[in-house]
């Protein structure tokens, strides 16, 4: 298991860790049980019981539904289907050209060159990914984890 106190890892996940503690963790040799500790802590945070197998990214997990059956699931409980597929194929998508709430004037890219493609969870509207791509670019499949054979 993790060699750092469990509470410290919880603070790390919450983003509330102090600069001193964060630097101590960054300087220390990596604790071999971290993955399991993080999965346990993440499992405590969600309201559902499917066992987390991989913390895929912020707000998304790969969970085991049955032996050998894995799906991508949001923290809110929304399921994106087979974990072997790109979860973006089941997301809600907004494509933005030019200015947005954040990018005004020349801070925004020229839509002749690039658009923002935002992927949302259809369940809780969390913004899960933002691609910077030209129109017509295939969805980027960012991560294909190695899943257990069971």
């Amino acid at each position: 298991m993790s060699e750092h106190p469990r509470e410290l890892i919880r603070d790390l996940l919450d983003g509330t860790i102090s600069d001193e503690d964060l630097q101590a963790i960054q300087r220390a040799p990596k604790d071999p049980g971290r993955r399991e500790t993080v999965i346990e802590l993440e499992q405590e945070r969600v309201d559902w019981d499917d066992p987390i197998v991989v913390c895929l990214q912020e707000a998304l997990y790969v969970v085991r539904k049955a032996p050998g059956e894995y799906v991508t699931k949001c923290r809110c409980g929304h399921e994106f289907g087979d974990a072997a597929r790109n979860w973006k194929d089941s997301a809600a998508v907004i494509e933005r050209e030019g200015e947005t709430e954040y990018f005004v004037g020349p801070r925004a890219a020229d839509p002749d060159w690039m658009v923002l493609r935002e992927f949302y969870c259809p369940g809780c509207a969390t913004r899960l990914d933002v691609e910077v791509v030209p129109p017509g670019y295939p969805f980027i499949h960012n991560f294909e984890p190695v899943l257990p054979d069971d």
Binding site: P32, A59, P106, D110, W113, I140
Partner: protein
């Protein structure tokens, strides 16, 4: 530092280096290891590590002394230099701090000389000084200049010592060596590809004359040569003392074992801290050449294997052609090695073993591995973004392994300005300002990116003193500010970079240009975070600045809170123009003309609605986030006193979530519409040219497009007559 003397045995020695290099390469390909056993380490690990520690001190000492010998702000102020010790075959053994992107590029130079029979044709001798700034051999552009010298123990060449600095002027067609409109190598200035510029520890005077008569400001190049020679000779002399102390055979064997030790440590660490899997990112840049505008594609596929090895595929890179945004293979390798060291292998010995842990696939004929040395490479092309994307891919692998403290979005892709002409002292000059060494850093999974702090290619980068830049270039700072809202928004925001406003002063003739990117988002966010803001440069010609100064009127103090209506444009009359993306061709300007430059900012992390409202309020108070962004992007309601209105914030955020789902399309419907747009050719020429180049020249990409969109075998994006592809 006494010059070593050539012995009769050396002049008659058979040519061995090429054979040894070939054997070493073949051996690694066959066994996957540099040496079989770490025998010295097993016999006495303390002695083994003691030698490495002493070598580390030797190269660090050379770095620090050379920095003080140089007269260039790039070297003195920004720390754009590195020193190292190499094996006889050219593999890095031990490196100083500094520009670690060049660990491998110097190695390429030495190997190129060996492979091209320099040992036979030139006859390596003690005290030889070889110079290279050809990035197709080693380095990243003509501005990166390296000097190596052989180290002889008696009759035997036992290694090389080397130094590299980045100089600000190389005699290119545009001053300062960086230009966003170079279309051939011949625009890029003076290339000296593996040229012997000195013998017996002395620099050749005729080579100095060559530089003096070929560049606008030769002092930086020439004093940097002295700095590099000083450091390289310091290393050589110290190494010979260590050979005396440890014994020749021990020293030679230890060099090889240090590399094997690094390779093993790299594999162990990768296997223990990165989750196995396949990771993909995409980086972009573009050609701004009129009539040849084209988006440039740089996909990165990182495979982390359970044995701790890494494979990086860049298959799908855009083709090379006559445009400025190309990078050499050496440059891409350097950036990948830089990424691996900074993000994963920062706690092990940095040497050739670091890169041996990774295999790379970079197709020839692309803008990161050009098939002709005639293509320009100054601006690194999409290799820059691809190197940064490797860091983001590694972050996903850290995330899945639980090590959130190592997770970050994409670092800043920087930009800056160049100028040349006559300076305030009446001298010819050419240079670029490199304050972009202190760009905004990316957001991490646990805190905001640091503002105005560094760049990935030089972790020790600094913005430099404004007064030094004003001394080097006849441009006065009217403002040097943090670029509010520059970093990508998110749960944790990207760091804001620097933005400066300049006034030209006291020059009889000057031309100014800028390099950055086409108007794209230069640095993506991670896991829901927004990208960093698009780069740009403003120029104001024929201003009334002189009148404002004489009348004592207020001068602009920055961009102000609204980038759409900058304060300097509002306050100063003139012919203002924005160069979107920050690429601007070099052109004459005059005293009291104004311009701006931006360093680049970091990508954001996570959904902006997950950001702690108190952090948003703090950032508004400190001028890091605008009140507009607080309300519109973060959906944080602030009271008149700047405090968080909790209920108002909850209301705004709930409303935004509703709006998102009302506006969003299910992926299937989105894809149907996007496919229709693509097949009808309703995309711009730069995008169409990018797609059609890849559809014609890259089968893997073409297959991916056909499968994803359900396209016919011979599909090309319709519209225009530019079906020429890239080659």
């Amino acid at each position: 530092m006494e010059a070593q003397t050539l012995t009769p045995e050396q002049t008659q020695a058979p040519f061995q280096l090429k054979r040894r290099l070939e054997e070493r390469t073949e051996r690694f390909a066959r066994t996957g290891s540099y040496v079989d056993e770490l025998t010295l380490w097993e016999e006495d690990p303390i002695r083994f590590e003691l030698l490495y520690t002493k070598l580390s001190q030797v190269v660090a000492n050379a770095h620090e002394v050379a920095r003080l010998v140089s007269a260039s702000p790039m070297t003195r102020e920004l720390g754009e230099l590195i020193f190292g010790l190499y094996t006889p075959e050219g593999d890095a053994v031990c490196l100083s701090h500094g520009l670690i992107v060049h660990v491998h590029t110097i190695s390429r130079m030495i190997k190129w000389m060996i492979a091209n029979d320099y040992e036979e044709k030139m006859g390596f001798k003690p005290g030889d000084l070889y110079f290279n700034n050809d990035p197709h051999i080693g380095g990243a552009h003509a501005l990166d200049q390296m000097i190596v010298t052989p180290i002889y123990a008696g009759d035997e060449l036992i290694g090389w010592s080397a130094g590299l600095t980045h100089v600000p002027e190389v005699g290119a067609t545009a001053p300062g060596g960086f230009d966003s409109y170079f279309t051939t190598r011949f625009h890029e200035g003076l290339y000296l590809p593996c040229v012997k510029i000195g013998e017996n520890d002395e620099l050749r005077p005729d080579m100095e004359i060559l530089v003096e008569r070929s560049t606008r400001t030769p002092v930086y190049w020439l004093t940097d040569n002295r700095a590099k020679v000083t450091g390289a000779l310091m290393i050589r002399d110290a190494v010979l003392e260590l050979v005396e102390e440890f014994g020749l055979e021990y020293f030679k064997r230890a060099g090889e074992e240090f590399i094997e030790d690094s390779l093993r440590a790299a594999k162990r660490k990768i296997a223990s801290v990165l989750a196995p899997g396949t990771y993909r990112e995409v980086a972009w840049r573009g050609s701004p050449i009129p009539g040849e505008e084209r988006l440039l594609h740089a996909p990165v596929e990182l495979t982390v294997r359970e044995d701790g090895s890494i494979h990086l595929s860049f298959d799908g890179l855009s083709s090379n052609f006559w445009q400025p945004f190309q990078g050499s293979l050496s440059c891409l390798e350097g950036l990948v090695m830089n990424g691996l060291i900074q993000h994963v292998l920062y706690d092990s010995k940095h040497n050739e073993g670091t890169l041996l842990a990774a295999t790379m696939e970079v197709p020839v004929g692309t803008c990161c591995n050009p098939d002709s040395i005639l293509y320009p490479t100054t601006l690194w092309g999409p290799a820059y973004g691809a190197g940064l994307a490797v860091g983001q891919a590694l972050s996903r692998a850290y995330y899945a392994a639980g090590y959130r403290e190592e997770v970050h979005a994409t670092s800043a892709l920087s930009s800056g300005y160049t100028a040349g002409g006559t300076d305030q002292y009446g001298r010819s000059f050419g240079a670029h300002n490199m304050e972009f060494g202190a760009a905004g850093m990316p957001a991490t999974a646990v805190h905001d990116g640091l503002d105005t702090s560094g760049v990935e290619f030089n972790p020790e980068g600094d913005m430099g003193d404004a007064e030094i830049w004003e001394q080097m270039l006849p441009s006065i700072y009217l403002a040097r500010e943090m670029r509010m809202d520059g970093g990508g928004a998110g749960k944790f925001r990207g760091g804001n970079g620097i933005q400066s406003v300049y006034m030209l002063n006291n020059t009889s003739d000057i031309e100014v240009g800028s390099f950055g990117s086409v108007p794209i988002y230069p640095s993506p966010g991670l896991m829901g975070g927004l990208p960093a803001a698009t780069l740009y440069m403003w120029t104001g010609k024929n201003t009334n600045l002189r009148e404002l100064i004489e009348e004592g009127k207020p001068l602009p103090a920055g961009e102000g809170p609204d980038p759409a209506h900058p304060e300097f444009v509002e306050r100063v009359e003139g012919d203002w123009q924005v160069h979107h993306g920050s690429n601007k061709a070099t052109e004459p300007m005059r005293p009291y003309d104004m311009f701006t430059a931006v360093s680049g900012d970091g990508g954001g992390y996570g959904d902006s609605l997950d950001r702690d409202p108190q952090l948003v309020a703090r950032d508004v108070r400190e001028g890091r986030t605008s009140a507009r962004a607080a309300r519109e992007e973060y959906c944080v309601a602030l009271t008149e006193d700047g405090e968080v209105d909790t209920e108002g914030t909850e209301r705004l955020r709930a409303e935004r979530r509703r709006e998102r789902l009302e506006r969003a399309l299910p992926a299937e419907e989105y894809k149907r519409r996007a496919r229709e747009r693509l097949t009808e050719g309703r995309v711009s020429a730069p995008v169409r040219r990018m797609y059609n180049d890849l559809l014609e020249n890259n089968e893997r990409f073409a297959q991916r497009m056909r499968e994803f969109w359900g396209l016919p075998e011979d599909f090309l994006v319709p519209g225009g007559d530019d079906r020429e592809g890239g080659r």
